[in-house]
Symmetry: C2
Subunit: 232 residues, 2 copies
DNA sequence: ACCTGAACACCGTTCAAGT
DNA sequence: ACCTGAACACCGTTCAAGT
């Protein structure tokens, strides 16, 4: 618990803002980073660029975070926490699960640099705790007992995180290197139709699927599988 | 180019291996890269390290690949192709889908550096074509018509690729930065049980789930959802 | 106590030069 | 025709030095 940890000392040593006029602090840095992220610059979160953004030497960051990894975890947790704002569990567990797995993804995709770098990490902080608690509550409502709920949570959580990291990578790739759908279709014009009849005849259909609708489609399949599992 | 070979050869200008004694060529480079990948070195695939491995200057690679991206796509396609070796479609479509989504993942995870860097790319080459053709054949066998099959293919393919990239990232993170399960459990000892009762009481269960079983569990949920979709 | 700035060991990539 | 090696513009990180 690195965020707002309750201090043991009774007197509560004051923050001593003496040198805090232009001083930093974790939250100021996190705010600046999230302002930097979101653009199309794939490595907007380098220490040198962050340093420029906060008007301090890049290495000043080491005064507040042990290393880049710790900074990224803090960013990821804040992104999750922001995504949880305004969440209210509904009466139907499927809707709650779906809501949680869409809103957290959406929040990450607003900061794709954070998503690519930290989506595979467990932050073990406030935002993640709220997300987990809400997911488990929905699964309990669905009728899963504890062990089963833990399994399903892991499947859903990692499904969402993995796919979101994947999507963020696509966003940051951008137009680069002919990743676009047209290039996919075009490159299949030289492919032997005898050898790969299904692939060739379906390439336009496959390429036409956008990532966001694809995620929602897969998510609904997954939720359908969970519901089916409850059935028996 | 005068060679030692008989001249004026009218038929099929020979490959002329004159300067090919230590010469390179794409396949030699790809073989060397796959030998380099697989270890625990997260950036084993830097141009400098590849250059050392093939006994050539790092920049010699630019003679055979336009840039690193093109090299990675070639590597990824080879990894997919290797994964497809020995695949035979079975009579049951669910089993074929499952097989394809396990063997391709397994092949990628043998070369985690390739998986993290290229799992989100469409290679548009031989290995990927074989994979797509086999997947679509299984879905046709299941009874999906073309448009539906394309949708389900995209969901399954990206599910597998996204999660595999995620898993490869975990592998390369390794023991680093306390990503391990024990750290997760330990860090929850300070968490308020009143505020997050479900999360705290389930952390050991959640942390105990290994990535590979988690993937298989989610995969079965997904396949279950696909089967349910066919039902109506 | 906090920040600076040079330095270190790395990246991918370019380009004039070698043979 | 193919390869080399210095150079460029970047990384994250360390550490002695400033105030």
């Amino acid at each position: 618990m690195d965020t707002n940890e309750p201090e043991d000392d009774p007197v509560k040593e004051a923050p001593v803002p003496r040198r805090r006029a232009q001083g930093l602090g974790r939250d100021i840095i996190i705010d600046a980073c999230l302002k930097l992220a979101g653009g199309s610059d794939a490595d907007a979160l380098s220490f040198r660029k962050i340093g420029k953004a906060i008007g301090a030497d890049p290495t000043a960051l080491y005064r507040h975070f042990a290393d880049k990894d710790e900074l990224l975890l803090a960013l990821a947790d804040r992104v999750i926490a922001v995504g949880m704002e305004g969440y209210v569990p509904g009466p139907r567990w499927e809707e709650s699960l779906r809501d949680l797995m869409l809103r957290t993804r959406a929040s990450f995709l607003r900061y794709p640099q954070v998503a690519t770098l930290a989506a595979l990490r467990v932050t073990r902080q406030k935002g993640e705790l709220e997300f987990i608690e809400a997911m488990l509550a929905a699964l309990e409502l669905a009728g899963f007992e504890r062990r089963e709920a833990a399994l399903v949570y892991r499947a859903c959580g990692d499904f969402m995180l993995a796919w979101t990291g994947f999507s963020a990578g696509l966003v940051l790739l951008g137009e680069q290197s002919a990743q676009d759908d047209n290039a996919w279709v075009r490159s299949y014009q030289d492919v032997s139709e005898q050898q790969y009849p299904l692939a060739v005849s379906s390439v336009a259909l496959m390429a036409g699927v956008q990532d966001e609708e694809n995620y929602r489609f897969a998510l609904d399949l997954l939720l359908g599988g969970i519901a089916a599992r409850l059935g028996n």
